[in-house]
Symmetry: C2
Subunit: 275 residues, 2 copies
């Protein structure tokens, strides 16, 4: 094992929703260091085109590679849906996205073979979840539903609010009518609505959080590539986690501290279009 | 008068909301040609920083200048609030934004001197409306309120919907409690909610639509600079209006035809970060 094992994992998202993935990596792989990049100057990706999301993702990979990372986690469903191939090509490092890990668990756990996916318009439009689920289990029936208002509602902090409940129910009505027994929360913001969704759909539906499944897949990938960090984190390591954004660095801590199990005091600003 | 009088007006916005301004120019200045640019690859600006909005606006001006325009209309409240000085410096052409025209009318029409402004978080944070209103009439009291959910609701087409009404009332409660008699719709998407807002606030409150006032100010500016188009539009001019976007050109017509009085078949794609 070389010092590469002690290198950080690069984690990126269109904005700050991907911190739900970073959180699961922190909880489940406590030895690993993280470099997080959130593209807050160009957020959201969920309403943008494949071509644009690919170009932005390549720029981010070029930035992350300056941070001497050992692997990349695409902590954004839209970027995974549109750009995982571009990221792999650009990175020349092990790469995982959030779609395949969630799809794998959903296929393993569904009883009746009917799986719902809620996600951004771009992710649904890409058909990436249906493709991933069907390649794992060709017999499943997949009902995908774009939920464009959920990210703004989460970003306004309306996690427990009758308006949010009403909007969730409108989106889920069609999905539930199709008799799904498993629902993938296919956008990194949605785990923050997990308890609202649980309350509305009841206990009989299994909710899949790709953030958690991605952290587990990352552990497997690092082991397979013999890249896992074997050194316990030193108590006086000042910065196992570093955060970069392309805009609003001073507002980062506000949202980050709502999600992360650690106190984040700051993020550094990167002019991402220069990469 | 030179052929410069027949040159188009450059109109830009963070996305497609600025088409409400283009619409008023089409209606009120029917001889003028328009080149519209919507920054759909980086929309929205309303949650971004001054520095980023300035940089993006300068790139757009450099693009518009390649189209041989005679003047620029910043059809975006956030870009006006943050970047009008940068745009003037970069353009070296007559420039107007949407804030001053709306502020002027509000000051002229308020009876009790209490003016409400609803806008994006960035526009409100900039204080640009309060500054513009106070410089015109130092005695007015201004109540500004950020309404971040209204743009997503408009973009979902929920113009007449109980959820939208509920959200509007939450935002307006505080504004109305302060006894305003005039309300500026300080975001280019909000005129599309005009009838919903009218229904909720009643007839006693004057609603100011900066899009309309901006078209009137543009007419005055062109006259003052002797730049108005004096030639009636030829019936066989194939393209008095040209539309450019930085992403999703194929989705442009969908939204544009909801707003514009003409049929728009397409927009051309511009890679705006190259400017």
């Amino acid at each position: 094992m070389s010092s590469l094992n002690e290198a950080p994992i690069g984690v990126f998202d269109s904005g700050l929703g991907g911190l739900t993935v970073a959180r699961e990596i922190m909880r489940n792989l406590p030895r690993e260091k993280i470099v997080y990049f959130g593209d807050t100057a160009r957020v959201p990706y969920g309403s943008k085109s494949r071509q644009t999301v690919e170009r932005y993702s390549r720029q981010i990979v070029r930035f992350l590679k300056t941070q001497e990372i050992k692997a990349i986690v695409i902590a954004c469903n839209t970027a995974t849906a549109f750009a995982i191939d571009a990221v792999r090509e650009e990175a020349d490092l092990p790469v995982i996205g959030v779609i395949e890990p969630g799809a794998r668990v959903a296929c393993a756990e569904t009883g009746n073979g009917r799986i719902g996916v809620i996600a951004t318009r771009a992710t649904v439009g890409s058909g990436a979840y249906t493709e991933a689920l069907r390649s794992l289990r060709p017999d499943v029936r997949v009902i995908e539903k774009a939920c464009p208002l959920l990210v703004p509602l989460v970003e306004e902090g309306l996690l427990h609010d009758p308006v949010t409940d009403e909007i969730i129910m409108r989106y889920l009505d069609e999905v539930l009518e199709n008799g799904v027994d498993t629902l993938i929360l296919g956008c990194t913001h949605y785990p923050l609505l997990r308890s609202a969704i649980r309350k509305l759909v009841g206990d009989s539906i299994r909710l899949v959080n790709p953030a958690y499944e991605t952290a587990r897949s990352l552990a497997e990938l690092l082991e397979e590539k013999q890249l896992e960090c074997t050194v316990p984190r030193s108590a006086d390591d000042p910065s196992p986690y570093r955060f970069f954004v392309s805009d609003q660095a001073e507002r980062f801590a506000e949202f980050a501290n709502m999600i992360l199990p650690i106190d984040v005091s700051m993020a550094r600003l990167v002019r991402i279009e220069d990469y």
